[in-house]
C-alpha cells in the first residue's frame, strides 16, 4: 500500500478512547444492574451501547480520513495488518473455550456421570445418578429443562452452511475485483456478501424461534442447550458484526474510498468474514452433524 507519507504516523492526541471507556463502563455497569433488575440498568445498557457505536464511527471515521489523505505509509499499513491478524487469533481462542466445553462434556464428563470410564465413574453413577445413561444430546441426570428435540443438520443449518460458504466466494470475488480496480463489480460482490450474511442471521433467528416454540430446545436444556446456544449465538453475533462491517465497507466503496492498491478496510473485513466462515464449519460439524 504505497502512499505519500514517508513517516510513521503518530497522532498527537486521541479523543475517542476515553469516550469508548466511558461507553463500556456504562454498558457493563448497566448490563450487570439489568441482570439484577436494578434501577436504570436497562437504560444504562442501551446508553452505553449507543456511546460505543458512536465512538466506533468516530474513531474509524478519523482513521479512514487519515488513510485517504495519505498520512499512512507502508509501515503503518503493516501495523494494521498485524493487529488485525492477532485480533482474529484472540477471537479464535475465545471460540476455543466454548468448543473445549463441548468436547469436554461430550468426551469426558458426560460418559463419567453415565458411569463409563475408570476412576470410579461407575460408583459416581451408582451413588449419585442411578439409572442415568449418557447419550448425546443430553440435558443431564436432572433432565434439566424437560424433554427436548435435537436440532438436526438438514434443513436450515445446511442451507446456512451453503449461504456462508457462498458468501466466502463472493467476498473473494469482491477482492479480485477491487485489486483489478473494477469498482462496480466490487460493490456488487460486496452487496451479495452482505445480503447472504444477513439472510444467514435471519435464518438463524428463525431456527432459534422454532427451537424455542416447537422443540422445547432452550438455553435451559442442560449441557446440550448450553453449548448449542452459546456456540451458535456467539457465532451469530460475529456474523452480524461482520456483515455490518462489510456493509460499512460497501458504503465507503460507493463513496469511492478505495483504490486498487489501498483498501485495507475491506481486506480486514474479509479476513474477519473468512474467520467467521471457518468457525461455522466447525459448528456445523461438531454441533449439528456428529
Amino acid at each position: 500500500m504505497s502512499s505519500a507519507a514517508t513517516a510513521y504516523y503518530v497522532p498527537h492526541s486521541a479523543r475517542w478512547p476515553i469516550v469508548g471507556s466511558i461507553g463500556l463502563f456504562i454498558f457493563f455497569f448497566g448490563f450487570a444492574s439489568w441482570l439484577n433488575d436494578a434501577f436504570l440498568g436497562r437504560e444504562m445498557f442501551f446508553l452505553g451501547a449507543a456511546i460505543i457505536v458512536f465512538m466506533m464511527f468516530g474513531w474509524f471515521g478519523d482513521v479512514a480520513k487519515e488513510s485517504e489523505s495519505g498520512a499512512y505509509n507502508s509501515q503503518v499499513d503493516t501495523s494494521f495488518r498485524l493487529s488485525m491478524m492477532w485480533f482474529i487469533f484472540s477471537e479464535v481462542m475465545f471460540f476455543a473455550a466454548f468448543f473445549g466445553a463441548l468436547f469436554y462434556a461430550r468426551v469426558f464428563s458426560g460418559p463419567w456421570i453415565g458411569g463409563v470410564g475408570g476412576g470410579g465413574a461407575d460408583m459416581t453413577n451408582a451413588l449419585l445418578y442411578e439409572g442415568f445413561d449418557y447419550v448425546w444430546p443430553t440435558n443431564g441426570p436432572g433432565d434439566v429443562g424437560g424433554n427436548f428435540e435435537q436440532m438436526g443438520w438438514f434443513g436450515l443449518p445446511l442451507i446456512n452452511t451453503l449461504l456462508l460458504l457462498t458468501s466466502g466466494v463472493t467476498c473473494t470475488l469482491a477482492h479480485h475485483a477491487i485489486r483489478a480496480g473494477h469498482r462496480k463489480p466490487f460493490i456488487l460482490w460486496l452487496l451479495a456478501t452482505v445480503t447472504l450474511g444477513f439472510i444467514f442471521v435471519f435464518l438463524q433467528a428463525e431456527e432459534y424461534m422454532h427451537a424455542y416454540s416447537a422443540m422445547n430446545l432452550t438455553m435451559n436444556s442442560g449441557i446440550y442447550g448450553s453449548t448449542f446456544y452459546l456456540l451458535t449465538g456467539f457465532h451469530g453475533f460475529h456474523v452480524t458484526m461482520g456483515a455490518v462491517i462489510l456493509l460499512v465497507v460497501m458504503i465507503r466503496a460507493i463513496r469511492n474510498h478505495f483504490t486498487a492498491e489501498n483498501h485495507f478496510a475491506f481486506e480486514a473485513a474479509a479476513w474477519y468474514w473468512h474467520f467467521v466462515d471457518v468457525v461455522w464449519l466447525g459448528l456445523f460439524i461438531f454441533v449439528y452433524l456428529v
Binding site: 484472540s90 473455550a97 436432572g142 434439566v144
Partner: protein
Amino acid sequence: MSTSDVTHHTPGEQHDHHDDHDHHGPAPGLMRWVTTTNHKDIGTLYLWFSLLMFFIGGAMALVIRAELFQPGIQIVDPMFFNSMTTLHAIVMIFGVVMPAFVGLANWMIPMMIGAPDMAMPRLNNWSFWIMPFAFTIMLSTLFMDSGGPAGGWTLYPPLVLQMGDSFAFVIFAIHFLGISSVMGAINIVATIFNMRAPGMTFMKMPMFVWTWLITAYLLIATLPVFAGAVTMLLTDRYFGTSFFSAAGGGDPVMFQHIFWFFGHPEVYILILPAFGIVSSIIPTFARKQLFGYDSMVYATASIAFLSFIVWAHHMFTTGMPLAGELFFMFSTMMISVPTGVKVFNWVATMWRGAMTFETPMLFSIGFVIMFTIGGLSGLMLAITPADIQYHDTYFVVAHFHYVLVPGAIYSLMAATYYWLPKWTGNMYDEKLGKMHFWISTIFVNVLFFPMHFVGLAGMPRRIPDYSLQFADWNMIATIGAFGFGFSQLMFVYIIVKCVKGGEKATDEVWEGARGLEWTVASPAPYHTFETAPVINPDTVTR
C-alpha cells in the same frame, strides 16, 4: 486530528527534520493525560496506576494478616475476610503486576528497539484508560449489599455462583480488563514485529523485549479463554445454562480445566517480563554480557510452550484419570528445566564479573535467590502424590508468594530503580534505595517463610480462623506483613523525591549499561527516535 499533527520517522533512511511541527512537547493541562498517545506518557500512567493499586491490594493483604494474627475470629467477619483474599489476588494480579509490566513495556520497548512510538498509539491510550474504569466496577462491589466476590480469585463454581448480586459486576469487570490486556498485547506484538529500527534483528533485541513478545502472545492466546470461562459462569447464573452443573450434564470440574488453561499461562505472564528485567540489569552491574543469550530466548519460548500443557497441576486433588495426573506431573516438572537454564545463566553472568551492588542489582540478586526458592517449592508441589498433602494449604501460598513478591514485585522495583534516572533525569537516593531493599528483604522472608511450615503442618488457605498449633508462626508472618507493607512507603518516598529533583543523571546513567535507551538524553526526550537510530555493536545489548 489533522494530518500535519504527526511526528515523523523515516525507517531506513536519514532525512531532514520537518522542523515546523516535529518537536512537540506534551500538551499543557490535565487533558494531556487523558488524550495522550505518547508511549512515555502512557507508560507513566500505567506505572502510577499500578503503584496506587499496589497500596489498595496491600491494604487488603494487611486486613487478612491482621485477622490471622491470632486464632479465632478477631477483626472482620468471615465473609469480608473471604472477599479480601479474593480481591487482594485480583487487584495484585490484574491491577498491579500486569499493568506495571505493560507500563514498562510502553516506556522501554520503543526505546529499546529504536521506534518512534508504539505501533498503535491511540489503541495504546485506550488500553490504559480502560483500567481505572474496570477497577471502579470491580471495587464498587465492596460497597454493594451482597459484598465483594468471596469465592477466591479462581472463581470456582458452584461456590462462586452462590454469590450475591455483585457477581455480574465482577464478571463484567473481568471482561473489561480482558479487553484492555488483549489490546495492549496486540499493540506490543505489532510494535516488536513492525517497529524495530533497521538492523535491530530479532536476535539482537534486549531480553526484556523478547520476554514481552512471548508474554504478549500468551496474553492473546489465553485471556479470551478466560473471557469464555467467565461468560459461561454468567450464563449459568443468569440465563439457565448448565455448563458447570452435573444435573444438566455439565461438570463443575470443567470450569477448573478451562480456568487453569488460562491460569497457568497467566502465572507466566506475571513472571516472563520479570525475567527480561533481571536479564537486563544483571549484565549492567556485572559489567559483562548476558551469559547464554540464545539459550535465554529458547528457554523463554519453551516455558511459554510448556505453560499450555501443565494446567491441571492445580487440580491434582480435584480428580482426574491417572494418566492425566501423571502427564501433568511430568510436564510440570519439565518446566523447571528451562527455568533452571535461566537461573544458571544469571549466575553465570555474575560469575567473575566486576560487580557492584547498586539498588537495582540488589533487587535483581534478591530476585534470583528468592524466585528460586519459589521455584523449588513449585517443584515439590508438582509431585502429584505429595501435592495431595500440600494442596490448598499455606504451603501453596508460600510458593506463589515467593515467585510473585520477591519475584515479580522485586523485578518491578529493580526496574523502577534502574530506569528512574532515565525517566526523570535525576538519580534516586541510593542510600535510601539500599535501605528499602534490605528492610523489604528481611520482612518479606519473615512474612512468607513461616508459611511453608504451617502449610506443611496442614494449615488450610483462605480460612479466617486456624487451629492453635499454627499460632506462633502466624503471628510472626503478620509482623512480617506489616513490616513489609509499611516499608513500601519508603519506595513511594524515594520515587517522589527522585521525580522532584536530585543529582543529575548522565545519559548512560550506569557505567556498564548497554542498549539504545542509554544513548538518548536523561530524562528521555518526549519523542525519541523520530529517525531510526544506527544499530551497531555499541548500541545493542549483545
